[in-house]
């Protein structure tokens, strides 16, 4: 439920934000938070009807302007064109983009079926790169804006239970680190978000979940991180400590654990 402060009136806005993967549990909450702050939004999702439903909802709730676009993360060859259309939708007012496309997949299957493994890598890494490439170039040319991308704590260290996903997210985090380095010089902020477990369809009903955070909490953290032009944020913040410990375990010991 989104029972918070009353909606901000339109007009106070800080430009249009592109929300890639708007149908995700976390991104739904992010879109609310952005609209509540008065941003107009361009939303993309592979489920057209659902994306349009979200766009209508945000319009009615917050009085902002929204647009829905269909975008399949695995149709790489369409990405440059789609991003161009999204940028056009923003009518010169693009402030930045938040990207939350991801696919946890079934690790057990990915261990047997390399196509499942490939799908995990394609969705979490390749697609993000093919979408961010034209976006980064656009923002760089403008000399301002932000890119905020959802990676995962799973990318901080490979574990036997989800290392394909973890590898893709590790790749994504490395990509973002490099992109941040490049774009910093042209005034574009790149924010890497590393969520712990979040209560969305990705985790609902799955085993082995703990310290599961509500998506609204993560969304507030994401928008705050963008506002403050943060580089890397763990959400909730305590995951930073947890991952520090997990990363510091020597490999010789780590390999014996069942994680």
């Amino acid at each position: 439920m989104n029972v918070g402060a009353p909606p901000v009136r339109p007009g106070k806005a800080g430009g249009v934000v592109l929300v890639l993967g708007a149908t995700s549990g976390i991104m739904r909450a992010v879109a609310h938070e952005l609209a509540r702050h008065g941003h107009d939004l361009v939303l993309t999702g592979r489920d057209r009807a659902e994306t349009e439903t979200l766009a209508a909802d945000l319009r009615i709730r917050y009085g902002v302007r929204t647009r829905a676009r269909q975008l399949d993360a695995l149709a790489f060859e369409t990405h440059a064109r789609e991003i161009e259309d999204c940028i056009d939708d923003a009518e010169g007012q693009l402030a930045g983009a938040v990207l939350g496309i991801g696919y946890l997949g079934e690790h057990a299957r990915a261990q047997q079926d390399s196509l499942e493994a490939r799908r995990i890598v394609d969705t979490n890494l390749t697609a993000c790169i093919t979408l961010l490439t034209p976006l980064a170039n656009h923002l760089e040319a403008n000399g301002r804006g932000f890119l905020c991308v959802l990676s995962s704590v799973a990318g901080d260290r490979g574990r036997q239970s989800n290392y394909v996903y973890g590898a893709a997210k590790a790749g994504l985090s490395a990509y973002l680190s490099g992109l941040r380095n490049r774009l910093h010089h042209s005034g574009v902020q790149v924010t890497t978000v590393l969520p712990g477990f979040v209560d969305t369809a990705m985790t609902y009903g799955k085993e082995g979940m703990f310290l599961v955070a509500p998506p609204e909490r993560i969304a507030r953290g994401i928008v705050r991180a963008v506002d403050r032009r943060r580089d890397v944020v763990y959400l909730p913040g305590f995951w930073r400590g947890i991952m520090l410990v997990i990363r510091s375990i020597p490999e010789a010991l780590f390999k014996r654990l069942r994680l």
């Binding site: 439920m1 989104n2 029972v3 009353p6 909606p7 149908t23 549990g25 489920d47 009807a49 659902e50 439903t53 979200l54 209508a56 909802d57 009615i60 709730r61 079934e106 969305t200 369809a201 990705m202 609902y204 009903g205 799955k206």
Partner: protein, 455 residues
């Protein structure tokens, strides 16, 4: 795709926290998943669930499927010319108020908590303080989309699929899952009610006040002291009012449509059951009555007027781990006085105390086959879940039946199939429609099995 069909095995209860049962809780993220869950039929039966504010077992399904609609909570459209809102059924009244009260609209009918969903409001055909004038929530419905067991989606309105419409309005989720609905919001000039408070020293005085002057008020109810006995039996404080016009809220620094923000309290854990005993409740009730003064034209913000209990989150924990039973009955005009008197005598004569019982006049019934309200009077009260509570409530059910009354299913946890059949004479019509929509009985709930509606 994985994910959507996943469930979580959970201990669930209604707001009364009695009974508590294990079920497989599904939480679809989009409307299309509901049909997939129903037709996959991984569980023997399914029931829809909103915010779980029904008190008993209406939104429970022991060892079977429960479909939570809370993530299906999107506004779909609003027509400012007609005030007609379209939304998904999991949207809460709280969110509707948050978005539309600042724009000058309010709900046409609201229960005593805003933490209910539109689907729950339709399935229980909820009534509010304005029932004597405006009827139930069902009256303001334009139409809704109902997904039945086969996966088919029916558009139902008083014109289209009329019989399914009136089986679903008040049908406790047993015809299928309501996906979305359209209904009318009502324009208001302010977020305040102009309220009159009037004490009535006994039941006769309370009923006389209702009968004499209710028509002058859009909103009307009374708090009644269930523990008072003898000459004070039924002593009450009537609280009645009308929407305050804009001019009444004139402070320069005040937006008439934005009431002052309130601090939220919450009961963080279960109170020890001993805290709430007959002495503390009697003392509370006595204080409540004696501290009220008659007053007219008092400006009260909508939250305090409609949702006094919502300002204390999880107040149901006050009753401790054993939970409680809400008991709400309605009596027809001819027998109301006798029925209420008999019920109040029974209550004040036992050690089973109740906080804040509510008395209210109902207007005429609608065509809902299982819709609760009918013309007369209704009384709602809490009974702490002490041992023997079920037997005690059954004796109340018998008493209510003798006076031609009925029990509200949204609050019930105890009613027997025989009493139910006697109280709801149109139940057989309901069952015929349900069998037609759901021949294999795939939509069911713990309530349905308990009262013999499982099909």
């Amino acid at each position: 795709m994985d994910g959507p069909n996943l469930f979580r095995s959970e201990q669930l209860s209604g707001w009364g926290r009695f009974p508590v049962e294990r079920a497989n809780l599904y939480r679809p993220e989009r409307g299309a998943e509901v049909g997939r869950i129903l037709t996959t039929a991984a569980d023997p039966t399914y029931i829809s669930r909103g915010l779980g504010r029904s008190y008993g077992d209406a939104a429970l399904n022991r060892e079977a499927g429960v479909i939570s609609h809370v993530r299906l909570n999107r506004f779909l459209g609003f027509d400012a010319n007609t005030g007609i809102l379209e939304c998904e059924a999991g949207l809460s009244f709280a969110e509707i108020i948050q978005v539309f009260l600042p724009r000058g609209y309010f709900l046409p009918v609201t229960p005593g908590t805003k933490y209910v969903t539109v689907g729950g409001a339709i399935a229980s055909d909820v009534h509010g303080k304005n029932h004597h004038r405006d009827g139930t929530f069902g009256r303001f419905l334009v139409d809704f989309r109902l997904q039945i067991a086969s996966g088919e989606v029916l558009v139902c309105s008083p014109e289209q699929n009329r019989d399914v419409f009136w089986a679903t309005v008040g049908g406790m989720g047993l015809t299928g899952a309501i996906l979305s609905a359209r209904f009318r919001l009502v324009p208001v000039e302010s977020a305040y009610v102009e309220a009159d408070y009037q004490k009535a020293p006994d039941l006769d005085a309370a009923l006389a006040a209702f009968a004499g002057s209710d028509e002058g008020y859009r909103y009307s109810m009374a708090w009644i002291d269930c523990l008072a006995s003898g000459r004070s039996l039924g002593r009450s404080v009537l609280m009645r009012g009308n929407d305050a016009p804009r001019e009444r809220v004139r402070a320069p620094d005040r937006d008439p449509l934005a009431p002052p923000a309130k601090r939220a309290l919450s009961v963080p854990f279960d109170a020890p059951s001993a805290l709430l005993n007959r002495f503390s409740i009697r003392a509370f009730n006595g204080l409540y009555y004696s501290s009220h003064r008659d007053a007219t034209g008092r400006l009260v913000d909508f939250d305090s007027f409609f949702y006094p209990l919502d300002s204390v989150g999880h107040w149901n924990r006050l009753y401790g781990k054993r939970g409680f039973v809400q008991y709400q009955v309605a009596f027809p005009p001819q027998t109301a006085e006798g029925g209420l008197r008999a019920l109040l005598e029974r209550l004040s004569g036992t050690r089973r105390a109740s906080f804040l019982a509510v008395l209210k006049r109902f207007g005429p019934a609608n065509e809902g086959l299982l819709s609760f309200p009918f013309e007369g009077y209704t009384l709602a009260l809490d009974l702490p879940g002490a041992s023997g509570i079920e037997e005690f409530v059954r004796t109340l059910d018998d008493l209510v039946l003798r006076y031609g009354g009925r029990v509200y299913l949204a609050k019930d946890a105890v009613l027997s199939p025989e009493s139910f059949a006697a109280m709801y004479p149109r139940a057989q019509e309901f069952v015929r429609i349900k069998r037609r929509l759901d021949p294999e009985g795939r939509i069911s709930s713990s309530l349905a099995r308990r009262i013999g509606l499982a099909g």
